[in-house]
C-alpha cells in the first residue's frame, strides 16, 4: 500500500511528533509498504498566521503520488482533504482548548484572538470528523476531544517505543533513575528535595541535558544546599544505549512531569521491567500506571516521593513483581506496532 504520513513541520525543531513520524515510517516500510513522510510548515504566531496555514492545508493537494492512505498526526495538517484520511492524533492545537486561560495560550485574549480561536475550534469540529478513522495517542487526548469537540474517537493507539530492543531487564540496583530533559516542567527539583527525607541508602540518578544553563545550575545548587552530593548523581546528556544500560540496573524509575500528554520514559521503564513512580498531576501517565500494581501514583511533594521510594526499597520481592506487572502492561494496553498498524491500515 502507498501510505503518506503527514506531519506539521516546525523548521529546526525536532520533538516527540518527529520521533513518532519517523518510527511510523520505519514500521510501514518494514511491513513492505511504500511510505512517504510529508511535512507541511506551520507557524502559529502572530495568530492570523494560523488561519493562513490552515487555509494552505485545505488548498494543497496530496494526490500527486496517488497514495492509498494518508495518516495525519497533528494540527493543522489533519485538515488536509483526502478521501482515505485517518488521523492518529498526537494533540490538537491545545492553545485554544485546555491551555486557553493559561499563560501558554499563545493566541491573544482580544476580540480578534477570540475569533481566531473560534474559527479553529469550528474548523477542528469539521476536519476531525472528515477522517475515516480517528485515533489518539492517549486517553487524555481522547478525553479532550470529547470534552471540547464532542467527538468520540475510534480508539487509543499508544505509540510504541522506537528501538525497544535495547531496553532489557537486569538486576535490581541501588538507585532510582529519572531520565528527562532538565527543565522546570519535568520537576527534577522535587526528586532532589525528596532525597533529603530518605533514610535508606539508595541513590537518585538524573540523566538529561538542561534546557538552559540557569536551570542546570539551579539543580546543582539545590544538591549542594542539602549536602546531597553523595546521594544524587547528575549524568548530563547520555546516549540512548547508555540510558538503556542505566535503566536495566535501576531499582525503580521516576517520571514526574507536570501534565504531560505522553512520555517515552514510561515505556522504557516497562520494557526494562521496572516499576514507575509518577505524580498525580503528571498527566496521561496515569493511564499507564496503576498504583501499587506496576508503579506508584503519589502526591507531588518531596515527602510523598521519599516515602514512596522507601516503601518500594523496603520490599524487594514486591518491587520485582511490580516490575513484571509493568512489562505486562505493554501487552495489556496493546503497545506494539502490529496493533497500531492493524488499525491504521485496515
Amino acid at each position: 500500500m502507498k501510505v503518506i504520513v503527514l506531519n506539521a513541520q516546525l523548521p529546526f525543531v525536532r520533538g516527540g511528533a518527529e520521533v513518532l513520524a519517523d518510527s511510523l515510517m520505519e514500521q510501514l516500510i518494514e511491513q513492505g509498504h511504500q511510505a512517504e513522510l510529508v511535512r507541511i510548515p506551520f507557524k502559529w504566531y502572530p495568530a492570523e498566521t494560523i488561519l493562513k496555514h490552515l487555509l494552505a492545508c485545505r488548498l494543497l493537494k496530496l494526490n500527486a503520488a496517488e497514495p492509498d492512505l494518508v495518516i495525519a498526526l497533528k494540527f493543522p495538517v489533519y485538515a488536509m482533504p483526502f478521501p482515505n484520511k485517518k488521523i492518529w492524533l498526537l494533540h490538537q492545537f491545545r492553545q485554544v482548548y485546555d491551555l486557553w486561560g493559561t499563560p501558554y495560550q499563545d493566541v491573544p485574549d482580544t476580540p480578534e484572538g477570540q475569533r481566531i480561536r473560534d474559527i479553529i475550534v469550528h474548523a477542528d469540529n469539521i476536519h476531525l470528523r472528515e477522517a475515516r478513522a480517528l485515533y489518539t495517542i492517549s486517553k487524555n487526548v481522547a478525553d479532550r476531544l470529547k470534552k471540547y469537540n464532542d467527538i468520540t474517537v475510534d480508539g487509543v493507539l499508544y505509540p510504541p517505543l522506537p528501538h525497544s530492543e535495547i531496553f532489557q531487564t537486569g538486576e535490581q540496583g541501588n538507585y532510582f533513575f529519572y531520565p528527562s530533559r532538565l527543565t522546570r516542567s519535568k520537576r527534577q527539583s522535587i526528586a532532589i528535595e525528596a532525597m533529603r527525607f530518605v533514610k535508606s541508602n539508595f541513590k537518585l540518578v538524573l540523566a538529561g541535558k538542561p534546557d538552559n544553563d540557569a536551570y542546570g545550575a539551579e539543580l546543582q545548587a539545590l544538591i549542594a544546599r542539602y549536602g546531597l552530593q553523595n546521594r544524587v548523581k547528575m549524568l548530563g546528556w547520555i546516549s540512548d544505549q547508555e540510558k538503556a544500560d542505566w535503566m536495566t540496573k535501576a531499582y525503580g524509575v521516576l517520571f514526574l512531569p507536570f501534565d504531560e500528554d505522553y512520555g517515552y520514559v514510561t515505556l522504557e521503564a516497562f520494557h526494562a521491567h521496572k516499576p514507575l513512580i509518577v505524580f498525580k498531576d503528571s498527566g496521561a501517565t496515569d493511564e499507564m500506571v496503576t498504583h501499587g500494581v506496576n508503579g506508584l501514583i503519589l502526591d507531588p511533594t518531596p515527602e510523598a516521593l521519599a516515602e514512596g521510594m522507601e516503601t518500594l526499597w523496603a520490599n524487594k520481592k514486591r518491587t520485582l513483581s511490580m516490575g513484571e506487572a509493568a512489562y505486562a502492561t505493554l501487552d495489556e494496553r496493546n503497545i506494539r506496532w502490529s496493533y497500531v498498524l492493524e488499525h491504521l491500515l485496515s
Binding site: 488561519l51 480561536r117 469539521i126 464532542d150
Partner: protein
C-alpha cells in the same frame, strides 16, 4: 484598549466638535489618541488637553507605524477634501472603522481626483464604476466633460459612499437612511448610532441681543453654511407670497454664503421687497450665533435635495427646544412628527410658517417635544456604550475580513479574473468554510458533518454571513486590480517591499495635454479674459471641476434643476 481617532479637530470643523464631545466621554473608558489633519499645534483645537498628534508635522510612514500599535483605528470622513484627504488616504492604507458623517462623498472625491493634484480621470472613473457600476462610469464621463450636477439629487444617487468605505472593517453612520444605503453594498458590519448630546442641550431662554429687539416680530433663523439646497430662496418666496408673514416675521440667515449666491439672494429680496424683513448676516462666531439661536422663535432647517447627511444643526435646534421646520425626507423624516414640523412643498412650507407664527402654543408644544426627544435620544454616554459594543463586533470580525483581503490580494497578484471563476471556486469555498462560523448550527437541515457541538465558547458578537465574505472577495479583487499600490496593507510585509507597482498615471497624448493645461491654470485665466460661455466649451480640454464650484455650489444652474449636456 487603545483607539486611534482620526478627525479634523480645529474649531472650523463641526466634526471636530462632535469628536471632542464623544472623546471626553470615551476617554473615561478607553485610551484614545487623536490624529488631526488640520492642526499643527493645540491652538484652535476643540479639546487641546487630549492626547493629540498633528498629521501635517509627521511623515506618512511614521503615522502608519504608530497606527499599527493601536487596537483599532477610527476614521472620521466627511465630504470636504481639505479636512479629510489625509484621513481617507490613511484609512485605505490601514483599515479600521469609518465614521461616515456625510453619505454623499462625491464632492470630496471629485476634488481629490480631478482638481487636487492633477487630473486623474482614470481613478475617478474607476471609483465611480466601483461605487455605481456602468451608470456611474457614464456619469463620470459627463462630469469630466463639463456637466455640473453638484447641487442636484444626482449627488445623492451617485454618492460614492462605497468608495469612501471600501476595505474598512466597520462603518458607523448617524441616520437610518444612511445605514440603509450602505447596507446595500457593505460587506463589513454597520452601526447606526444616534448623535451624542450637544452642549446646547437644555439651554434656552431669550438672550437679549440688540439685533433681535424689533417690533415683537417672530424671529426665524436659518444657520450654518448657506448653500443652495438649504432653500433659503424658498423661505423668501414663502414670506413674499404671504401678507401675514411679511408683516409678522423677521428672517435671519446666519452663515457663510458664496458671493455669487449672496448676489442671487439679494436680487430675490429686492424683487419681493423684503430687504427689511430678511437679513443675510454672513458668518458669525459661535457666541453670536448661539445668542441668535437662543433668541429665535422658529428654526428653518430645510434640505432639498438632501445628501443623506445627519444634520448636527437640527440637533442643536432641538436641544434648545426650538420648533424646527424640515423637509420631509431622509434623516429629517426619522424624527417623530410631533418633534419637528415637516413640509414637502412650497405651499406646505408657507402654510406651516403661517400656522407656527400664529400660535405660540403650537411652537411651544413642538419645542418641548423636541427637547424631550433630544434628551432621550441623543445621549453621549449611550453613544459611547453603543460605540464600544460596535468596536467589539468589528474586532471580532476583523480576522475574517483580513484573511479575505489577504486572499484577494494574492489572487490579484496572480492576475486572476472572472474568466477563471471555476478554478477560483475551490479557493472561495475553502475560505468560506473556514471563516463562516455558525452559531449553534444544529438546525435540522445542516449536514451532519457541519453540525458542531455546542461551541465551547459563546461568540462575543455576531459573525458575518458567508455571502458578505464572497462579495468582499469579489469586490476587493475588482478594486485592487486597478490600483496595486492600495493592496499594500494586505500583503505580507515582504511582498509589500518588493512589489512591482504598475503606474496608474493617465497615458496618451490627450491626457498629457490635459495635465499640461491644468498645470498652467489656463482655465482660470481664460475665465477672466473670455467670460463664462466660452469656458464651458473649452472645459472639455481643461481641468475640471473648480473647487469653488464643488463646495459652495454653482449658481450657474437654476436650483433644483438637473442639467445634462
Amino acid at each position: 484598549m487603545k483607539i486611534a481617532w482620526l478627525t479634523p479637530f480645529s474649531r472650523k470643523s463641526a466634526i471636530g466638535q462632535y469628536s471632542a464631545i464623544i472623546l471626553r466621554e470615551l476617554t473615561r473608558h478607553v485610551e484614545v489618541t487623536v490624529f488631526a489633519p488640520d492642526l499643527e499645534d493645540t491652538q484652535d483645537a476643540w479639546w487641546p488637553d487630549c492626547d493629540l498628534r498633528f498629521i501635517p508635522s509627521l511623515k506618512r510612514e511614521t503615522i502608519l507605524a504608530e497606527l499599527a500599535t493601536f487596537d483599532i483605528c477610527v476614521y472620521n470622513l466627511g465630504n470636504y477634501l481639505p479636512f479629510h484627504r489625509d484621513i481617507y488616504e490613511l484609512s485605505a492604507q490601514k483599515p479600521g472603522i469609518v465614521i461616515l458623517h456625510d453619505l454623499v462623498m462625491h464632492h470630496m472625491f471629485a476634488h481629490y481626483y480631478l482638481n487636487y493634484d492633477g487630473l486623474h480621470v482614470t481613478r475617478y472613473t474607476h471609483a465611480m464604476t466601483y461605487s455605481h457600476g456602468q451608470p456611474g462610469a457614464a456619469l463620470a464621463a459627463e462630469i469630466v466633460a463639463g456637466a455640473q450636477f453638484w447641487d442636484t439629487s444626482l449627488m445623492l444617487e451617485y454618492n460614492m459612499a462605497k468608495w469612501a468605505t471600501h476595505g474598512s472593517y466597520g462603518v458607523i453612520v448617524h441616520s437610518a437612511f444612511a445605514k440603509h444605503t450602505i447596507e446595500q453594498f457593505s460587506n463589513a458590519p454597520i452601526a447606526h448610532l444616534r448623535f451624542p448630546t450637544t452642549p446646547l442641550l437644555g439651554e434656552s431662554g431669550n438672550s437679549t441681543t440688540p439685533m433681535l429687539d424689533d417690533e415683537k416680530r417672530i424671529h426665524l433663523i436659518t444657520f450654518g453654511n448657506i448653500i443652495v439646497n438649504k432653500q433659503v430662496i424658498k423661505v423668501i418666496e414663502a414670506i413674499g407670497d404671504s401678507s401675514y408673514l411679511r408683516s409678522h416675521v423677521k428672517y435671519h440667515v446666519v452663515g457663510s454664503i458664496s458671493p455669487d449666491y449672496e448676489t442671487h439672494l439679494n436680487i430675490a429680496l429686492k424683487e419681493y421687497h423684503l430687504t427689511h424683513e430678511v437679513e443675510l448676516l454672513g458668518y458669525q462666531p459661535d457666541e453670536v450665533l448661539h445668542g441668535l439661536l437662543a433668541a429665535a422663535d422658529i428654526v428653518i432647517n430645510l434640505r432639498d435635495p438632501h445628501f443623506g447627511e445627519s444634520s448636527w444643526s437640527l440637533l442643536e435646534a432641538m436641544s434648545l427646544g426650538k420648533p424646527t421646520i424640515v423637509w420631509k425626507h431622509g434623516f429629517y423624516d426619522e424624527f417623530p412628527d410631533e418633534t419637528v414640523a415637516k413640509v414637502y412643498s412650497q405651499q406646505e412650507l408657507q402654510a406651516t410658517l403661517e400656522r407656527l407664527c400664529q400660535s405660540a402654543e403650537n411652537r411651544q408644544q413642538i419645542g418641548q417635544a423636541a427637547v424631550a426627544y433630544a434628551r432621550q435620544m441623543f445621549n453621549t454616554e449611550r453613544y459611547c456604550r453603543a460605540f464600544l459594543d460596535f468596536v467589539q463586533k468589528v474586532r471580532y470580525n476583523q480576522p475574517v475580513l483580513a484573511l479575505t483581503d489577504t486572499v484577494s490580494a494574492i489572487l490579484l497578484e496572480m492576475d486572476a479574473d472572472s474568466s477563471v471563476s471555476m478554478l477560483l471556486d475551490p479557493v472561495l469555498q475553502e475560505l468560506s468554510a473556514l471563516l463562516d462560523t455558525p452559531v449553534n448550527d444544529l438546525s435540522a437541515d445542516s449536514q451532519p458533518h457541519q453540525q458542531s457541538a455546542v461551541p465551547r465558547y459563546t461568540p462575543i458578537a455576531t459573525p458575518l454571513p458567508t455571502l458578505s465574505l464572497q462579495n468582499r472577495l469579489a469586490e476587493t479583487r475588482y478594486y485592487y486590480r486597478r490600483f496595486p499600490k492600495d493592496i499594500a496593507p494586505y500583503l505580507s510585509p515582504i511582498s509589500r517591499q518588493t512589489r512591482i507597482v504598475k503606474s496608474t498615471k493617465a497615458g496618451g497624448l490627450y491626457n498629457i495635454m490635459r495635465q499640461l493645461l491644468w498645470q498652467l491654470r489656463l482655465d482660470q485665466t481664460m475665465e477672466r479674459v473670455l467670460g463664462v460661455r466660452l469656458i464651458l466649451t473649452l472645459r472639455f480640454f481643461l481641468s475640471y471641476p473648480n473647487v469653488s464650484d464643488l463646495y459652495v455650489f454653482s449658481t450657474r444652474t437654476a436650483p433644483g434643476q438637473a442639467r445634462r449636456s
